[in-house]
Subunit: 276 residues, 2 copies
């Protein structure tokens, strides 16, 4: 199988040939990424890549056995990039500021997506290669999800989550629902109750839903500046999951003037949420 050539079963020796191969593979991916960033995945052309690198059009098949394999490599890199952005944003927060970590991860994902819209579309838009994600994408794909899950599960482990006391009751989940998310809880939320895991999934998919709407033009001529809407949605969803309010950079008490707002004055709740 030719795929093994670039998938790790390389000759163990670090000879001249192996180094040249690694270098050219990187150059091909770099040029392909440039084309995807410029024109989108659907107009990525292997021949154009080889032209830019000054090689014969058939030579590229020594490195990537098909166009889909090259795209898969780009997908893996994109997953890794967004995962790294999320992890770094998380690591920059105080570990016990779970609300702040949630917002930081969400905003890091959105920032990366806006900076790399075509790579976002490659990964979270319609799957371009034959509808079936290769196995080697699941690891990098899990990275960003696990970054979020660590925040939720950490808060749950510390007893800061659970059903928010202000929330009216939903019925307990039945057996079907519990079974449906059993492996999810096993993999990502071992310390969280099932209801929290479902809210986390809702919040997480909400994040990608609003980013997709923004990047794919569904807000065109309707919401011109998405940032404040996104920030507030991120806070609302974090609150739904049950996070304590984020500390914020300055830790300032919110300048809430309930009378001037259209919000209903809360009944005897002293916990105050405010924008970061």
């Amino acid at each position: 199988m030719l795929l093994e050539c670039h998938a790790g079963v390389m000759p163990p020796s670090t000879g001249l040939r192996a180094r040249m191969r690694a270098e050219l593979t990187a150059e091909i991916k770099e040029e392909a990424r440039r084309q995807v960033a410029a024109e989108g995945a659907s107009s990525l052309s292997l021949r154009a890549v080889t032209r830019s690198l000054g090689m014969a059009s058939s030579a590229i098949y020594r490195y990537f056995p098909s166009r889909d394999d090259l795209l898969t490599a780009l997908i893996v890199d994109a997953y890794d990039a967004v995962g790294q952005a999320a992890e770094e944003a998380d690591a920059a927060c105080p570990p016990d500021d779970f609300g702040g970590r949630w917002c930081a991860v969400g905003q890091a994902v959105r920032s990366w997506s806006i900076a790399n819209p075509h790579e976002y579309a490659l990964v979270y838009g319609s799957p371009v290669p034959g509808y079936r994600a290769p196995q080697d994408t699941v690891g990098p794909a899990s990275r960003v999800t696990l970054a979020m899950a660590r925040v939720v599960d950490g808060a749950a482990r510390d007893g800061l989550l659970g059903n928010p006391s202000w929330s009216p009751p939903l019925p307990p989940m039945d057996g079907d629902a519990l079974g449906a998310i059993a492996t999810l809880i096993d993999l990502a939320f071992p310390n969280a109750p099932a209801e929290v895991a479902v809210r986390a999934v809702a919040a997480w998919t909400q994040l990608f839903g609003i980013i997709s709407f923004e990047l794919f033009g569904h807000f065109h001529n309707v919401i011109d500046e998405v940032s404040p809407v996104f920030d507030r949605a991120l806070l609302e969803m974090g609150r739904l999951v049950g996070f304590p309010p984020p500390l914020g950079t300055a830790g300032r008490i919110a300048d809430v003037a309930p009378g001037a707002s259209s919000e209903v004055v809360p009944d005897g709740e002293d916990e105050v949420w405010f924008l970061v």
Copy 2:
């Protein structure tokens, strides 16, 4: 501009030729839709369409001046289909059961999406034709959004919404945020306060976020049965928007057993939410 040919500037007479033209246009779209449903939009081939219809490959350009125009026509049809599904589900509910209407619309959208995954991807995945949606798609695209907005705005008009009394305070939205959604409120939520409009956007994008994750394989090997998760997320988001609980088909009182659940027992709230 050739686009006028199929865009309405047809000879006013309803002669034999015009009827043939309309018939063939419909046949082309039907065959193209069949191909998209089978293989996805990226592998839609004009020549394959013409082959299936037994015509010369060049003849199709008399009806659609380019591949993108054919795809745009399919996009318009898909928008109309999902919009119609949402409207019909809404119309089947009692007009004052806003919680039930919200859930019905959401489930209708998901059902249509699962039944037509490639058409969903065509519309809500990465935009395939050159990143810029033609103007004639915005009308059909608004249809499903307005169906949802009517539910939210109707509930707000009847005074059933607003900030839920159980919700801890978020600060009022500042000028930037209010300006960002001014046109949105104008177009879709004239009777709703800004905070409700933002929650509606969050809930709406959450719906498409979870559907996209399901259809595009991001739940693969993590959540095998999405239905119960989706149903519960729909309820949670409807509650976040502020809808009263859905009446349900039987109107039965929920068989809630708080002790057996991992939910925290609510403090003195008598309103009960339950699954439809």
